[in-house]
């Protein structure tokens, strides 16, 4: 509607299409191509097959998938519970108190992940709390990194909730606990699902803190991809990257489905 001439519209679309293709479509396509390739001499890769994926699943990188999933799910679950409880508690608060606590819970998102890793390293490398070299310290770092996101999503969700519906529940005689269980949390469910899924996705891609902290037995996918490509094994690295992308996109799709399903009202009370 902005550009009425045919030629102008074509030219605009050509430029925009080229940008999108070069910056977003081609990179994804090439990673996919490389993940299937056995050789890359000359312009295009060759010797296509699934050997790289077989290699990933049979070798050490396969364990990275498991480590990433466990780290992501545990860290996100804790972050979701903590974030939801904080967001619910802060809901009635206003003014400076509210701003200060918001800041406290949002701050981790502003700190470089490498610094979070360094801080945990400095804090938990000595007794009494010796966590350095355990998988737990990786999970803790991921929790810190996704916690702000989880808190923010739940807070934003709470703001979207129709307030009068909850007041109605109260006026119909519901106690705080009953209102929370039967009205607030069910209405919040789509936001919780979204926060959980996106937190996992965020955790899956985390590199900075993890590369400061990971113990030998707990290598996550990004760290493993870096190790593979750094030693020149770009094909297996690409295969693992494709797996990471697929897992992430699947999570996003599940989030969409959950939101649609819950908001669609197929969830019945009780």
């Amino acid at each position: 509607m902005l550009i009425w001439s045919r030629a102008g519209r074509r030219a605009t679309l050509f430029v925009a299409g080229l940008l999108i293709f070069v910056l977003y479509v081609a990179p994804l396509a090439l990673i996919l191509l490389a993940s299937l390739a056995g050789q890359w001499n000359g312009v295009w890769p060759s010797h296509f097959g699934l050997l790289n994926f077989v290699g990933v699943f049979q070798g050490a990188p396969g364990e990275a998938i498991w480590a990433s999933l466990v780290t992501g799910v545990v860290a996100s679950a804790v972050a979701l519970i903590s974030g939801t409880s904080a967001a619910l508690a802060l809901r009635g608060w206003r003014g400076i108190r509210r701003k200060a606590l918001d800041l406290i819970f949002f701050l981790p998102s502003a700190v470089p992940s490498v610094s979070i890793g360094l801080a945990l390293l400095v804090a938990f490398s000595h007794p009494p709390v010796l966590l350095n070299g355990t998988a737990l310290i990786v999970v803790i770092a991921h929790f810190v990194i996704v916690s702000a996101f989880a808190f923010g999503s739940v807070s934003a969700g709470l703001m979207q909730l129709p307030c009068d519906v909850e007041q109605m529940a109260e006026s119909l005689g519901a106690s705080s606990a009953y209102r929370l269980r039967r009205v607030t949390l069910p209405l919040l469910a789509p936001y919780l699902a979204a926060a959980f899924g996106l937190s996992i996705a965020l955790s899956m891609g985390e590199l900075g803190a993890t590369s400061m902290l990971y113990p030998p037995g707990w290598v996550t996918m990004p760290v493993s991809i870096f190790a593979l490509t750094n030693r020149g094994d770009v094909f297996e690295g690409s295969a693992l990257t494709v797996i990471l992308i697929v897992v992430t996109v699947t999570l996003l799709a599940l989030v969409q489905l959950a939101i649609r399903g819950l908001a669609g009202g197929s969830a019945r009370g009780r």
Binding site: P162, D164, V165, Q167, M168, A169, E170, S171, L172, G173, A174, S175, Y178, R179, R182, V183, P186, L187, L262, G265, A267, R268, G269, R270
Partner: protein, 385 residues
């Protein structure tokens, strides 16, 4: 079975109507000098009003006049800065909303979107841990009351606005509320459904004559149709309170006269009284107009006279003493009737008339007549913008 539940209610909510919607003084709402202030703004000041058991009182007023605040003070979502709110004999000023046993219906329905119609209606009973068979019976009964029994399994978003509001009413009634609060319940509906719902609420009250209803609206048609008494609000204060009929026929002040039914209000000076003093004659811009003198004004007092547009008729020929000669300034045809604006000196009068066969000519002369018994003389107050 029901008795057992009712005692439970008594523990939980502190109030329990002994039989459905019965119990006399229990169901009274009483505001005692209630003021609500937010910082420097006063939204309700020195508000005193009693809604008697079984009565429908409509709060009418422009937006921002404090009527919704008054309703929310009864529901418990607004705490008065000063004064007290009673439900029955009980001072509920500082009682939590969930312990007041009140039924509330709001403009946008506020149904629980994730629950079916039946679950919505059952909500208040389940919150009170009512027995399952009672819940089922009460849900069926209340849905039948609003004609929604066929929709029990539907989700709210599958219903029209009017249907959603019926469910909201059923939900409010299911807990056997002490009083029912309706906050602009029909404002979100379109005109035709609204008329239908007004009749519906009227029928509902006929079926539940003991139910006390506090009804906030800005629509005077709703108020006149439904209310036993109307409270007119203005700038956070009670501007007028009377039965709908009295308020319409004998408005107590200029605001009430103009807000309810858009009466013509002309300013003048009392120049003569009838022998018993009950009728007064005003000099208005060279014309003499007579009306009922209920405020005991005397000769020489500045005063207003209020005449309803439909009380003005074209003057019968020959009755020269009581006719008012003016000119047609404007004609607003509205289908079944038309509104004529008549220029009377510098003043203007609106009158409703059945449409003439021939269209009126602007500027044509027009002689008017009204029965002085239908006009009310009021103490003078300045017009506001």
């Amino acid at each position: 079975m029901a008795e057992v539940i009712d005692t439970k209610w008594e523990e939980g909510a502190g109030l329990a109507p002994s039989s459905p919607f019965a119990g006399a003084a229990e169901q009274r709402i009483h505001f005692e000098d209630v003021s609500v202030r937010y910082g420097a703004t006063t939204v309700l000041s020195d508000f005193t009003l009693t809604v008697n058991p079984g009565e429908i009182v409509a709060m009418l007023g422009p937006s921002g006049s404090g009527k919704t605040t008054a309703l929310r003070a009864v529901a418990g979502f607004v705490t008065p800065t000063e004064g007290r709110v009673f439900i029955g004999p009980r001072d509920v000023t500082h009682v939590a909303p969930n312990a007041r046993n009140i039924g509330m219906v709001v403009q946008n329905y506020a149904l629980f979107p994730h629950m079916s119609v039946a679950e919505n209606v059952a909500f208040g009973l389940r919150a009170r841990r009512a027995d399952k068979t009672l819940v089922a019976a009460r849900v069926a009964e209340c849905l039948a009351l609003v004609g929604m029994e066929a929709f029990a399994g539907r989700m709210p978003r599958a219903l029209s606005g009017g249907q959603q509001q019926r469910v909201a009413i059923a939900r409010a009634l299911a807990i056997r509320p002490t009083v029912l609060l309706l906050d602009e319940p029909l404002s979100a509906l379109d005109a035709q459904i609204r008329r239908q719902m007004v009749e519906e609420i009227g029928r509902l009250h006929a079926e539940l004559p003991d139910l006390t209803i506090f009804y906030v609206t800005h629509d005077q048609h709703e108020a006149l149709t439904l209310a036993d008494r109307i409270a007119i609000m203005r700038n956070g204060r009670l501007a007028a309170l009377d039965t709908a009929r009295n308020l319409y026929r004998r408005p107590p002040n200029r605001f009430a006269a103009e807000f309810l039914g858009r009466a013509n209000v002309l300013a003048g000076e009392v120049c003569a009284l009838s022998e018993d003093g009950r009728m007064a004659e005003l000099a208005v811009d060279g014309h003499r107009l007579r009306g009922a003198n209920l405020h005991g004004l005397g000769p020489g007092d500045r005063a207003l006279i209020c005449i309803r547009p439909h009380h003005l008729t074209p003057a019968p020929a020959g009755d020269a003493a009581r006719r008012l000669d003016g000119r047609i300034a404007h004609v607003d045809w509205q289908g079944a009737f038309e509104v004529l604006t008549i220029q009377l000196g510098t003043a203007e009068l609106r009158m409703t008339a059945t449409p003439a066969a021939e269209p009126h000519r602007i500027g044509a002369g027009m002689a008017l007549f009204y029965d002085p018994q239908d006009a009310t003389v009021l103490p003078h107050e300045p017009a506001d913008g």
